[in-house]
Every structure is written in C-alpha cells, then in structure tokens.
C-alpha cells in the first residue's frame, strides 16, 4: 500500500481509531494489532511477500534467544554460529532475491570476455518490496544481542511488531532494536502535542513527495529518457530535478513514516537533516539516509577498525562501506560506481583529516550562512548532483554519455527538452521549500517550528494541503511509486 494512495487515506484513520479507542492500554493486543495491520499494509503489494518477512523475523527472533542461551552457558562458539547463521540466512535471502541475477549475468559476461562459455541460470523472481530495509533491521538485532548491546526479547509480539511496524517497513528509517523494541514493550499513551507534530511532519512529507518529487519526476524523465536528443540546458535541468526528485521522494517517505509513527506513540529515528545544505561530502553523509549510514558505520566500518587504524586501512574501510552502500541500493553497476564516486569524494577529507570538520547544527547563531559556507554548500550540492546522474542512469554508458553531453554545452536540436521558463514554477516551489527547511535547519524535523500566528499557520496548512491535492490529482495517471521501494 502506498502512502500516497486512496487506500492509505482510508487505512490510516481506521487503524488509528481502533488502536486508540478500542485497544488503548492493552499492550499485547495493540502489538498484535500492529502486526496484523502491518502485514495487511505489506501484503497489499503481494501477499506472497509475507512468507519471506515472517521467515526473516522468525529467524532473527529465535537466533536472538539461542545466542543468549548459549552465551549464558559459556558456549560462545555456538552463540557465534547462531549469530553468523542468522546473518548468512538473511543475506542469502537478500542475495537470491536481489543480487543473484546481477552476479550471474556479470560473471557470464566476464567469462565470455575470457572465452569461457558457461550458462548460469537466471531466476525469474519479483524483488520483494523493501527487502533490504527489513533484512538490515532484523540483522542488527541478532548482532546487537551477540555483542551484548541488548538482551533478547521473549515477547514475540513485540519483536514481530518491531520488524514489521508498517510506517517504516518498506523504506525505513532502518530502526535499531535498542530504540524501537523497548517502545513496543511498554504502554503507550496518546499525546496530543506529539500527534499534532506527527501530522505536521506527515504533511511536509506529503508535500515533498507529491508536490516536489512527483513533479520533478516528469521533467527528469524527459531529460533522462531522451538524453541523446536534448540540449545541455535540458540535461542540467534534468539532473537538477532528479536531485530534488530523489530527495523529495525518499525524505518525504521518511517524514511521512516518522510522523505516522508518532500518531501511534512511537518515536522513530530521523533519517534526513536538510542534506542539501551540507558544506562537504562528509557532512552530506551525516544528513542523508542517516539510518543506513549509521548501520554501515556500526556493523561494517567500526568492526573493520573504523578511523583508528592506519590511513590506508581507513581508506579501505571507507571504500568498503561506500561500495556496500552502493550495492545495497540495487543490483546494477551504476549503484556500485555511484558508491565508489562518493568514496572518492570522501578521500581528500580523510587524507586531510577534515572528515569531522562539520558536525552538529549549523548557522545556529545567525540567519544566513557566510559567503564561504554558501560556496561550500553549492559545491557540495553540485558534486552530489553529478552522483545522482550516475545513480539515475540505466547503465554506465548512459551516465557517461549524459555527463559528456551535459558538459558539451550543446543547444537543443529537436523538439524534446525542458524549457527553463516552463519549469520556473517548480524551481520556485523548490526554493520556497528549501527556505522553509533552512528556517527549521536545526529543529527536530523540517516542519517542527510552529508559526505563532494562527491565521498565518492555517493559511500555510491550507496552501500545503491544496498544493498536495492539486498535484496529486494532476499526476493521478503517472507512476508515482516511491523510488526507494525497489531497494
């Protein structure tokens, strides 16, 4: 079920009412209800996917119990086998569904180039929605249990609710058991101000998805779909619009998910913090898809030695997590190269020890960035935008041709293209949205600060809802699925 669908518009109020009016203060029933509605939400795509998520959840649940059991008995080796076994099983599922065909085809191409002819069979399977998200969430639990960061839970209802909680099930944030699981183990009470804040966050999320991302998609598709025929200006605009499409799409989903969770008394971790205001690539990765990056840092980067090893090893570690991050996004060489591209951008910061230059809030004591900061922001934005061209392209050849043509300053030859004047309205909306996010740059989320005057506040709500509605109706026949569902 999509957040931006009529089904969800009916689903959410019904679930909310039943959750609070009928099941209030009945923890186990509430958790059971969360599991049922989450499975309905997930099974809406394809009910067969449910078997996979139930299996993954079950594996992690029992492995957690087994790990603790053997650790208590001093049988650490068996505990390690349980933990590793769970990681292997989950990664094997992920590998089969997501990466098998990619590796089989790549291997075949490689062997053919060496004059070996081997036929690897390919699998004709549908990629289950959001498989990478819930697999990583389930994995983190058993690893944390093994590392004694948390105690395993015997409460199966709480654990299943933790893995399948519908707002963040298909596109994150990738939650940790340390944050989310305890929230399913204690009574939740309705808090009006938190719920209102959740509604505001959802509203901003819908605005980013429906108004910004879906409209940007129309322009970006023109440029990427016809990159051979359009001029450099259209390619630049196409890259610009895709940069905001992916931001609006993914951060919009995260905002809706986090806001939606607040309606049920659950606090999820933030996933985005105004990333396009970042002053260098290191800061960008502290603000973009935070939950995934923290996952890779905690479970890959730090176990490899993190930054407390020699420079060469730090570089190796950086390349490893960016390579994995690229692969996590999908089984295509474009994602791999996109990951490596970002690792390369990281390299100078590592070598100059400047990867922690910007952390925490920014411009806290002033309204506007300095000229130097603004210049850095623009530079970072442009570097990220080039990365998105690689990410969006269907092949490396396309990415290369797109960038080459973009830099050739060619004029449009055919009728297809994006006219700057025609797209000004959308650029205007993006700028207003960025100003709004700048105003909330150090707040908990991008729509946190409350406009004091009720009339102005209600007018802003009116404009946002009206623009979401109008935009939704205008794109009703377009494909407006969230990009990150495929990951």
């Amino acid at each position: 079920m999509l957040f931006n669908s009529l089904e969800f518009l009916i689903f959410l109020p019904l679930v909310f009412l039943f959750y609070w009016y009928v099941l209030d203060k009945r923890l186990r029933l509430q958790n059971l209800f969360v599991i049922i509605v989450s499975y309905i939400f997930y099974g809406w795509w394809d009910w067969r996917f449910l078997f996979l998520i139930i299996f993954t959840t079950g594996c992690s649940y029992f492995s957690g119990l087994a790990i603790k059991h053997y650790q208590n008995q001093g049988l650490n080796n068996i505990a390690k086998i349980c933990s590793t076994g769970n990681v292997i099983i989950n990664l094997a599922i992920l590998g089969i569904f997501k990466y098998y065909n990619f590796f089989a085809e790549s291997m075949q191409t490689l062997l053919q180039s060496l004059n070996f002819h081997l036929d690897y069979p390919t699998l004709n399977v549908i990629l289950p929605v959001g498989i990478s998200f819930y697999t990583f969430q389930a994995l983190s639990y058993s690893i944390d249990v093994y590392w004694n960061k948390i105690n395993p839970t015997k409460d199966a209802l709480a654990f299943f609710a933790f893995v399948c909680f519908f707002p963040q099930l298909v596109a994150g944030p990738i939650e940790r058991a340390t944050n989310l699981l305890p929230q399913f183990q204690r009574n939740r009470t309705f808090d009006y101000s938190v719920a209102v804040d959740g509604c505001r966050q959802m509203l901003w999320g819908f605005f980013k998805k429906v108004v910004i991302a879906d409209n940007c998609a129309r322009y970006a598709n023109i440029a990427f779909g016809n990159y051979n025929e359009v001029g450099s200006m259209s390619l630049l605009l196409g890259a610009f619009f895709f940069t905001f499409q992916i931001y609006g799409d993914f951060s919009g989903y995260s905002s809706i998910a986090i806001g939606c969770a607040k309606l049920f008394g659950i606090k999820l971790q933030p996933n985005f913090r105004v990333p396009y205001f970042s002053r260098d690539i290191a800061e960008f990765w502290k603000r973009w898809h935070i939950s995934l990056n923290k996952w890779f840092v905690d479970y890959v980067y730090i176990p490899l030695g993190g930054s407390r090893v020699s420079k060469i090893k730090v570089i190796r570690n950086i390349f490893t997590i960016f390579l994995l991050s690229g692969l996590w996004h999908g089984a295509n060489w474009t994602y791999v190269v996109w990951g490596l591209y970002h690792a390369c951008l990281f390299l100078p910061l590592i070598l100059l020890n400047k990867n922690h230059k910007y952390s925490g809030g920014f411009c806290e004591d002033k309204n506007f960035p300095s000229l130097h900061e603004a210049f850095n922001m623009l530079g970072t934005f442009l570097l990220v935008m080039i990365g998105w061209i690689i990410f969006r392209a269907t092949s490396l050849t396309q990415a290369l041709e797109y960038i080459t043509k973009l830099c050739s300053f060619e004029k449009r030859t055919g009728e297809i293209g994006i006219a700057f004047v025609d797209s000004l309205w959308l650029i205007g909306i993006i700028m207003v949205a960025l100003l709004f996010e700048w105003w909330n740059r150090n707040a908990d989320h991008e729509f946190k600060r409350i406009i004091p005057k009720p009339l102005v506040r209600n007018l802003v709500y009116f404009i946002l809802i009206a623009s979401i509605y109008v935009s939704y109706m205008m794109t009703i026949e377009d494909d407006t699925t969230f990009i990150y569902f495929q990951f």
């Binding site: 009006y192 719920a195 009116f462 809802i465 509605y469 109008v470 109706m473 205008m474 009703i476």
Partner: protein, 306 residues
C-alpha cells in the same frame, strides 16, 4: 477529548482545501477548448433551446457525427430542422444524452450513433467532459449524477493540467478542429483531405459492459416512452480496420449482443464501412465527401425506419 479534537481539526483542515480546489479545478476553463470545435456543445444547446417547441432531428454521437454528417441533406430530405450535437466521444454517451434530454419532445427524431468502444470510458467519458462543461456549459454539471461524479473525479486533475498547458493559448486558431469550422447545424464544415491513418491495431472491443448496456436500454425505453423516434445507427468505420479480422469478429459479436439485449442497430455495421480514402485523420473522421456519402445512407435508413 484531545483525540477527538485532533481528528476533527485534521478532518476540517484537509476537507476545506480539498473541496475548494475540487471546484476550482473542475470549473477551470480551457483556453484551447474555447476556440475549438468543442464549442459545439454550447451552440447545440442554444439551438435546441430555440427549437424546443418544434419537432426536430437531433444527432447524438461522438466526433464521428461532427466529422461525418452533412445535416443539410438530412434537413432537406426529412423536412425537419436538424441539430447535430456530436462533438467528442470523450464526453461520454451518458452526458451526451443527459445534456440535451430536456429539449426532446414527442415527434422528435433522435439519430444515435456513438463510436464503438467498451466499458465506462465510452459511457462516462474522460477529461474531455470536464473540459467541455467547465469551458462551455458549466450549468450542465448539474446533470451529473453521483456515479458520473465518481467516475469523472479522477479526471479533474488531468483536465486542470491540460488547462494549465493551454493557459497562454490565445493565438488565432484555424482548421477543422476550430470553432469557426462549425456550421449552423453543428457539423464540421471545413475542407479536409485524406491523411495517412494507422489502423493495424484492433482499436475497439466488442464487449459492452453491463452498465453501458443498461444505459442503452434506458435510453431506448425513455425515448420510446416519450414518443420520440430513435434511429440507432452504427458509426462510420474505416475499411482497413474493419477488414482486420479481429475487428470484424468483434463487430459481429457486438451486433449479436445488442440484439440479444433489445438495443439493436437499425442497420448492419458493415453498411457504414467506407474506403480508407474517404477518411480524414482518424478511423472515425470522414472527409467532406465521405460525410456526404454517409449522410445519404443515413437518410435511406431513417426513411426505412419511419
């Protein structure tokens, strides 16, 4: 108490802009439509209003009627005034009839020849309906029932998007699709030559859904019950499409289905199949000469039924 407050406030906050902008979008006029042959919806309405007390021939059809009938021949042969309401199949058969229904009186003749097609698209129309109503005849929105609204709702945004695209369309508009091509009967009267038309694909389906069938039955009964003669004729169809085996089979099956459900054509579909060279730019739009030949056949069929 607080939860109720949240629900009510959220509901109102969402409802107000949604209702306001539903109306804003639905009633937004389209600058291109103002200048196009779609204006015929208004012209036909005004002409029918002026003829409401006299007996007349009313042609109800999609654009195959506008681009395929020479009403002068009908008027001269049958000695009755003719109003050709045919504009665009996208308006939907239901509204094509409902808009003009109140002007029909005992003794009138209705020539009904909608394009082939299936399902709700032909019955309830698409964004064209909203474009035509908002631009030319807003009061006809009152003729839309709940089911029609449910179906048309999804087209509101598409209509608005089209209207936005045409926001700066103010240049002179000439050609067969312009409002200036409409003659005093409602026909498109503009010299038009045969163009290359692709007819390889099966472009219509013989299946008629229950709702469309029920509407046709209602239309037949309503007219019969009010003493109005109905001539239900097949539309003009391009020969190469007809000869496409799939289409021919579809048409045979459709004809049989309509007979079974008491909504038969009063002429065989094959009778209205014309050579490709008599068609203008689509498999349904005839050239001026094609329209002339088709009308002669219509006159014969109407006289036979009368």
């Amino acid at each position: 108490m607080q939860m109720r407050r949240l629900i009510i406030k959220t509901f109102i906050t969402i409802l107000v802009p949604v209702v306001v902008f539903t109306f804003v979008m639905a009633f937004w006029t389209d600058n291109l439509s103002k200048l196009s042959h779609e204006k015929n919806v208004l012209l036909a309405y005004e002409r029918l209003d002026s003829l409401k007390d006299v007996n007349k021939i009313v042609v109800i059809s999609g654009s195959n009627g506008g681009f395929g009938i020479e009403s002068q021949i009908l008027a001269d042969s049958l000695k009755m005034p003719v109003v050709n309401t045919s504009t665009h199949a996208g308006i939907g058969i239901r509204m094509q009839f409902e808009i003009y229904k109140d002007f029909l009186k005992r003794g009138d003749i209705v020539i009904f020849c909608p394009e082939y097609g299936s399902g709700n698209l032909r019955l309830y129309g698409e964004s064209t309906l909203l474009r035509v109503l908002s631009t030319h005849l807003p009061k006809a929105y009152l003729k839309m029932n709940f089911r029609q609204w449910c179906y048309s709702f999804k087209y509101i945004g598409i209509h608005f998007l089209d209207a936005m695209d045409h926001l700066h369309f103010h240049r002179p508009y000439e050609g067969p699709y312009s409002s200036s091509s409409i003659n005093r009967y409602g026909d498109v009267e503009y010299p038009r030559e045969h163009m290359d038309i692709k007819t390889n694909d099966v472009f219509f389906s013989a299946t008629m859904d229950e709702e469309t069938t029920a509407f046709y039955q209602y239309l037949h009964e309503y007219l019969r019950g009010n003493g109005i003669t109905l001539i239900h004729l097949p539309p003009a169809l391009i020969e190469s499409a007809y000869l496409n085996d799939g289409n021919k089979k579809n048409l045979d099956s459709l004809e049989g289905y309509m007979k079974e459900n008491n909504i038969p054509f009063q002429a065989a579909p094959s009778r209205y199949v014309f050579p490709d060279t008599l068609f203008f730019d689509t498999p349904y739009h005839l050239t001026m000469y094609g329209a002339h030949l088709r009308t002669l056949k219509m006159v014969e069929d109407v006289k036979r039924v009368l």
